[in-house]
């Protein structure tokens, strides 16, 4: 699914928190790629991601999904997961099965899909545990497994590996790469981890104070002369 964000503006109580204008007023996300959104805290990354995911309305601008406005059908083909995911008060297995159950998928198919994801995310030993009482890494893996269970076309991730152990990070990154490679999944990920952004993404977007200052490849961002971007990169050197 091709996603376009045109001149998006978001204001909260008369204060502008996101303004896509100037050179990068029109962001295009091509299908089957992994995009990274980077930038300091409060730069509007989450606001942009939530607008694209259809979770919050924009104040002005235009969002297009395959050249069309957002519909319920489009919503069912995308999903969003944050660094503090809301898991339901039921087992890990049932959390992952939820998107399939509401789509009335055949029971055997649900079982096969969920068991596959449990194995991939190394959650099979704790699959009966209630998801409300998991560690950070287990929660993230469960949330991502749930998000991937219905094979969405677009996955929006807001710092999915913040504060979790290296092994869980490796499992999550590997799952994202696999889905992107085999299923042509588009991933738009916010990360503060530059090395992760370079490992995963083919395209990076840099945001600061509600504006997009850069959009290009990882190699291009390293070659930029913008002092704000250079300052950010120097503090986040890997």
């Amino acid at each position: 699914m091709k996603i376009e964000a045109k001149e998006i503006v978001k204001t909260y109580q008369d204060k502008s928190v996101l303004t896509l204008k100037g050179t990068h007023h029109h962001l295009v996300f091509e299908p089957g790629k992994i995009y990274g959104i980077i930038g300091p805290n409060g730069s509007g990354k989450t606001t942009l991601l939530k607008i694209m995911a259809g979770l919050i309305p924009m104040s002005s601008g235009n969002m297009l999904y395959n050249n069309q406005s957002l519909t319920h059908q489009t919503m069912t083909e995308m999903t969003y997961s944050s660094h503090s995911p809301t898991l339901f008060s039921r087992s890990i297995y049932e959390n992952i099965a939820y998107p399939l159950r509401i789509r009335k998928v055949d029971k055997q198919m649900i079982d096969d899909t969920v068991n596959g994801l449990l194995a991939e995310f190394e959650l099979n030993k704790i699959q009966t545990q209630n998801a409300k009482h998991l560690s950070g890494g287990e929660s993230q893996k469960t949330a991502l497994a749930r998000a991937l269970s219905f094979s969405p076309k677009v996955l929006f991730l807001d710092e999915p590996t913040a504060n979790i152990d290296p092994k869980s990070i490796r499992i999550i990154e590997s799952a994202l790469k696999k889905r992107n490679h085999h299923d042509n999944l588009t991933v738009i990920i916010i990360t503060h981890n530059l090395s992760q952004a370079f490992r995963l993404c083919s395209h990076l977007i840099f945001m600061d104070q509600g504006q997009c200052l850069f959009s290009g490849t990882p190699e291009e961002i390293m070659a930029t002369s913008d002092p704000i971007i250079n300052d950010f990169i120097s503090y986040n050197r890997f």
């Binding site: 259809g54 979770l55 999903t79 997961s81 809301t86 339901f88 008060s89 509401i102 009482h133």
Partner: protein
């Protein structure tokens, strides 16, 4: 002190004598309070969820009004209900005054804000996240409502028992609209109040003990559901 002790002795004698009048009063109390709690739940749970998860102009005023109604004195509710149900009132033609139905109406008005307020409060905090997550997973409105009810089930249970507790223990509203008519609208609380006024402490204590037992049973059921759920969560 003796009369208190004798009161307890007499109370136990009364309880275990299975007096038909006492049984009828207990059953009527349970019928009225369960019915009103059921109606209040049917109104309060969806209204509380809708008010809690949605953002709209005047939400603060609505929440203040709701919290005010949660602590509304039962006698005032009884008085207003009586004004509406009285023969010369707007609903006088239905002849509901001094009937168990009038008591159910009054208690429903009393309990609905309690249930709505508790659900509203919880739905406003965790309900919004559940709705957003449901949306991101492709849930339709109907799926989201079921999801919310399941996710808030512990709170709904607490609201239900709190509402039932308020209904079964109140005396002012049922006294006004029911009239404490023997064999027809007499419930446990009006029975206790009447016997206390007449100096018959033993029967008041007996009925008080029954009320306490019912309260203990309902709280035990709540504990079973809520703590059971929490233990399951710890899994």
């Amino acid at each position: 002190m003796d009369y208190i002790l004798n009161g307890f002795v007499e109370a136990f004698r009364l309880i275990f004598s299975f007096d038909p009048e006492i049984i009828q009063i207990v059953l009527l109390s349970l019928y009225v309070s369960f019915s009103s709690t059921l109606y209040a739940t049917l109104i309060g749970v969806p209204v509380g969820i809708l008010l809690g998860i949605n953002t709209f102009k005047g939400k603060r005023i609505v929440s203040r009004l709701l919290y005010t109604f949660m602590s509304f004195p039962p006698v005032i509710i009884g008085l207003f209900t009586a004004l509406f149900l009285a023969r010369s009132g707007p609903f006088g033609q239905f002849q509901l005054m001094y009937t168990p139905q009038a008591m159910i109406i009054a208690q429903t008005i009393l309990v609905t804000p309690v249930i709505t307020g508790i659900i509203f409060n919880q739905a406003g905090t965790s309900g919004h996240e559940v709705v957003q997550t449901g949306k991101t997973l492709g849930a339709q409105k109907w799926n989201i409502l079921i999801l919310l009810i399941l996710e808030l089930k512990s709170v709904i249970m607490i609201a239900l028992v709190t509402g039932f507790g308020r209904a079964i223990s109140e005396v002012g509203a049922v006294m006004i609209v029911g009239g404490n008519i023997r064999g027809f609208t007499r419930v446990m609380t009006t029975f206790i109040a009447m016997n206390n006024n007449m100096g018959q402490y033993s029967v008041s204590i007996a009925m008080g003990l029954i009320l306490l037992t019912i309260s203990f049973i309902t709280n035990s059921i709540l504990y079973h559901f809520v703590m059971g759920d929490q233990n399951e969560n710890r899994g």
